[in-house]
Symmetry: C2
Subunit: 349 residues, 2 copies
């Protein structure tokens, strides 16, 4: 069951939780805003649902809440930072800003962050880049959580990849894990007592299944597009590790200090107007979206939408009608805000 909480109340409660965990005012404010915004956008799996796990990681010392990203080296349009296992969200936001600055100067900017921690909702950073008027591309490598195609044991991360288009009439944003469903999404369906809309993995007997709990148990999540998601995942992993001079997925496995601890992330910003006139580009964006959205729907009750459009609608609704949060998670956040730090991660296994 879910409840609807006003954005400001949810954010204020989350902020108290983060302050209780020892985050300074600035970081607690940022983290509360990002986690609340993720729920407001309909991405509960990587918003409020992740705060109990974040608390656990902080207590275990897997996240250093006082660390700041450090510039290691730069070359032309690219910079490399060491995240020093700081807070994934604040590290990644810092790098997002740097990628934007580099893109302003060079047309394209790349920031490679190593040794960081879970960035929560992957799309956060591509959305930020698009909201700043640039095309954003970002990805991460994670610990092994998905079998390579043809394997029955976990061998690669589901390494989310994001791309965002700065359309002024509504950003177009893709935020996709290389598994058909992220584990966080499986948790959302399980908590809601629902089956997945399409098979999302194999159960422990090797049968394709739409039961989220059975997949969480087997850990045999299905790569998106069968072999394609597995292939893209391993390539993104190697690229992130090489460019950042950081850990690859199997190195993260060796550490075994929780999801994404020590991972590598890439942030690319591209100036969309360096070769074309802004009005023309924005008109093209509108024309392209309109043409896609106006294609004949299978079900007239469900018109076609480009990625991001429903998110913006959801965001507006959340600001008017309250932000949806799982009832149990909300109880946990309130408990953290009251200073009871002993919460368990119920959103994922």
């Amino acid at each position: 069951m879910s409840v609807k909480i006003p954005f400001d109340e949810l954010k204020a409660t989350a902020k108290k939780a983060f302050l209780n965990l020892g985050l300074d005012e600035h970081k607690a404010e940022i983290c509360a805003h990002i986690h609340t915004s993720s729920n407001a956008d309909g991405v509960e799996s990587h918003g409020m649902n992740r705060i109990p796990r974040f608390a656990e990681y902080v207590k275990k010392g897997w996240i250093n809440i006082n660390a700041e990203p450090e510039l290691i080296k730069s070359k032309g349009a690219a910079e490399n930072y060491d995240g020093h296992l700081g807070i994934g969200v604040t590290n990644a936001l810092f790098c997002t800003e740097r990628a934007l600055k580099l893109a302003e100067a060079h047309g394209i900017g790349l920031v490679a962050l190593k040794n960081t921690t879970h960035w929560m909702r992957g799309g956060t950073y591509a959305w930020k880049i698009a909201e700043a008027g640039f095309i954003g591309i970002s990805w991460i490598n994670t610990e092994s959580c998905m079998p390579m195609w043809g394997s029955d044991v976990q061998g690669v991360g589901n390494n989310p990849f994001c791309i965002a288009i700065p359309r002024e009439n509504g950003e177009i944003v893709v935020d996709m894990a290389m598994s058909q469903y992220a584990y966080g999404k499986l948790g959302v369906y399980r908590l809601a007592g629902k089956k997945l809309p399409y098979p999302g993995g194999f159960d422990k007997n090797g049968n394709l299944t739409s039961d989220p709990g059975a997949i969480e148990e087997s850990r045999r999540i299905l790569p998106t597009g069968y072999w394609k998601g597995s292939s893209l995942a391993i390539a993104l992993d190697m690229a992130a590790a090489a460019i950042s001079n950081g850990l690859c997925g199997s190195d993260i496995d060796e550490n075994n200090n929780g999801s994404c601890t020590g991972c590598s992330q890439i942030f690319i910003a591209i100036d969309p107007y360096m070769f074309g006139e802004k009005n023309n580009i924005q008109n093209m964006f509108d024309r392209r979206v309109k043409n896609a959205d106006n294609t004949h729907p299978i079900d007239p009750a469900h018109p076609v939408k480009c990625p991001g459009e429903n998110t913006i609608e959801r965001r507006k609704s959340s600001m008017s009608n309250g932000v949806t949060v799982d009832e149990q998670i909300w109880e946990q956040i309130k408990s953290l805000a009251e200073g009871n730090l002993n919460v368990t991660d119920i959103a994922s296994r």
Copy 2:
């Protein structure tokens, strides 16, 4: 049915065909090499199978065999070229070289090409970037050939995306269309009289099917990963069109001058050693691939492989045992080489 032809014989025959179509010595040599190499790598769909269609486009004036890419503008690490509807392969190879030069200077290099034509096998350019020692990322926008998720008519291109890792012990390369199967691949299966391994689209009655011919007829090809492939396709389309200041997919539809005519392409090269030591990065690559490949296979007869590994094996085999080419296509190439330019495109509808 397929036949095996020695690489040099296949290439020499293809070169004669290109010369007969009016290409100069240099361009005919390049195109023959690329198309033959695609077959040698096992990508018949975008190798020899495409030559009859290329011939048709040249005769129709949709491809200007004498055009050269022209620098329109540059900014920092990025350059913009107009392809002047020249040969897709030679235009794209030129831009690949430019991206490498920019990456040498700036760490990352981006070339955005507009107004070009079909680049044939998308992976060609990412492979080249990796063979040159850089990480390669490239993509293209195409005419609408796939329904957006939730639609039953074509509304977006299948916009292939490629990423390549310069591993010295064998490049790791992903070359993926945003449809579960490229139309070229459907043609390969249909010519071979085979069903697809997994459902690849809907038939004209709206049922998921593995019959390649039924999907070619309905044009309702399945996006890879359902909504994910559709989302990524529209975002890649908009990004390519914006950065290159070129046509988006629905603009290409308006032109209606054949597949990919007037399309936009993006070529990105990234120096993998700008922040790390080469030996360490290569060791990481080997460790990562070994760990993935050593994961337990579902079927012991089919060990796990990273993308590109099978391609390199296939390439070796082709050089030793001859290059596989469809028998009917081979007859068409020989006919073109003999000066009979009236061939029809049988590889796709």
